[in-house]
């Protein structure tokens, strides 16, 4: 009987472990915003985008869309405004999506980088995010849904919905096809729409 019980324990543990390999992952340590952040989207736009608006409005719409994090089912997760990012600084409490890289952090082979900053312990094992910023490498070609995507371009909408997932506290998942899967193909805007795994992750956090 002891052996059967032990075997059952191992099976349950292995099942749990297998489950953990194929589900959303939260940034560690667990961190969340106290209230939905308002992300300022760089009003200069992305110079390689030729949709007539340099991608700024489509990016704002994508990250606040009901197909993305705000449609996860638990209310508004973020708001966004197209505006000036001239005061871009980690720790100023103003999350920004910068279409350039004023700090020179994302160069060479870096496509986009997210910094989560100034998260403070709540004393219950969770942390408070008070700022997070995204920078983008202009050396790569970007496209938006308002134009024809060709060659090695990446859709700004999909990439930024993914990066905003990090900004909200999500890490990468192993579930292929999910927004938080760590991969994006050229001219594939799939990540702009969240999947069940993403929804489960964001609803776990908030």
């Amino acid at each position: 009987m002891k052996r059967i019980a032990s075997f059952a324990t191992v099976v349950v543990l292995l099942c749990l472990f297998a489950g953990s390999l194929s589900a959303y992952v939260l940034l560690s340590p667990r961190r969340t915003w106290d209230s939905p952040p308002n992300v300022i989207v760089d009003n200069r736009g992305q110079s390689s985008i030729s949709d007539g608006d340099l991608g700024r409005t489509r990016t704002r719409n994508a990250i606040t869309s009901s197909s993305a994090w705000n449609g996860a089912g638990t209310g508004t997760r973020l708001t966004a405004t197209v505006g000036s990012i001239s005061s871009f600084t980690l720790g100023d409490g103003r999350p920004m999506l910068n279409f350039r890289d004023p700090i020179g952090a994302c160069t060479g082979n870096c496509l986009a980088a997210t910094f989560t900053g100034y998260y403070q312990s709540r004393g219950n094992g969770t942390y408070r995010i008070t700022d997070a910023d995204i920078v983008t490498n202009t050396a790569w070609n970007w496209a938006s849904l308002g134009e024809t995507c060709s060659g090695q371009e990446f859709y700004i909408e999909g990439v930024m919905v993914h990066e905003v997932g990090h900004l909200l506290g999500l890490a990468h998942t192993n579930v292929s096809g999910a927004t938080m899967f760590p991969s994006v193909s050229a001219c594939n805007n799939g990540p702009a729409s969240i999947e069940t795994d993403d929804r489960n992750g964001i609803n776990d956090l908030y």
Binding site: T9, S28, I103, A105, C110, A113, P182
Partner: protein
């Protein structure tokens, strides 16, 4: 059976503790890594210091690394390597997928051309290996790529995982790539 249960629990703990990532990088080939590097060195981290960049926009961290061996290119006996993120006065800025250094760790670093007396690691975490010794005393180069970095191939698919290799083989591979690139080799 007890051992199996212990292993299962250990795996669960590891899975639960694995941090996730937040920055996206294109995978660089070994040839690209060599061509983009002014030097490749083996050494030891002497000191790590984080501070606000003069612009006040972000915290950066500088590691002083004693160079024990120059595998490629020229480098001073101590190089200062800068990375983004760090903690100052209890405040943390986390730069996901960027190199992180610890005092006393032995490292192999691909270094970009020095600017203002400071170098950066080529290819972010792709250019940073930790050196350890296995039970048999063989030195191994362990990649530092963690979940903080999403590394993708140019076609957008996740790049193949970088594996731990014998340090001598990695050095030989770097020198071979350098020869192919027409770079001067420093034989030791």
């Amino acid at each position: 059976m007890k051992r199996l249960v212990s292993i299962g629990i250990l795996l669960l703990v590891v899975a639960a503790a694995t941090p996730g990532g937040a920055s996206t990088f294109l995978r660089m080939t070994p040839g690209e890594m060599v061509r983009a590097s002014a030097a490749v060195v083996q050494g030891e981290v002497l000191k790590v210091n984080s501070f606000w960049e003069p612009s006040g926009r972000i915290i950066v961290t500088e590691a002083m690394v004693a160079v024990h061996e120059k595998i490629l290119g020229e480098a001073p006996s101590v190089v200062v390597v800068r990375t983004f993120g760090g903690t100052v006065n209890g405040y943390t800025v986390e730069a996901h997928g960027f190199p992180k250094f610890q005092v006393n760790e032995r490292v192999l670093l691909y270094l970009e051309p020095e600017k203002d007396g400071v170098s950066r690691v080529t290819g972010y975490q792709q250019g940073h290996y930790r050196i350890i010794r296995d039970k048999a005393g063989v030195e191994l180069a362990v990649p530092t790529l963690d979940e903080g970095a999403s590394v993708i191939a140019r076609d957008g698919r996740p790049a193949a995982a970088v594996k731990t290799v014998r340090l001598d083989l990695l050095k030989a591979s770097i020198r071979n790539e350098a020869r192919r690139a027409g770079r001067a080799i420093l034989e030791n």
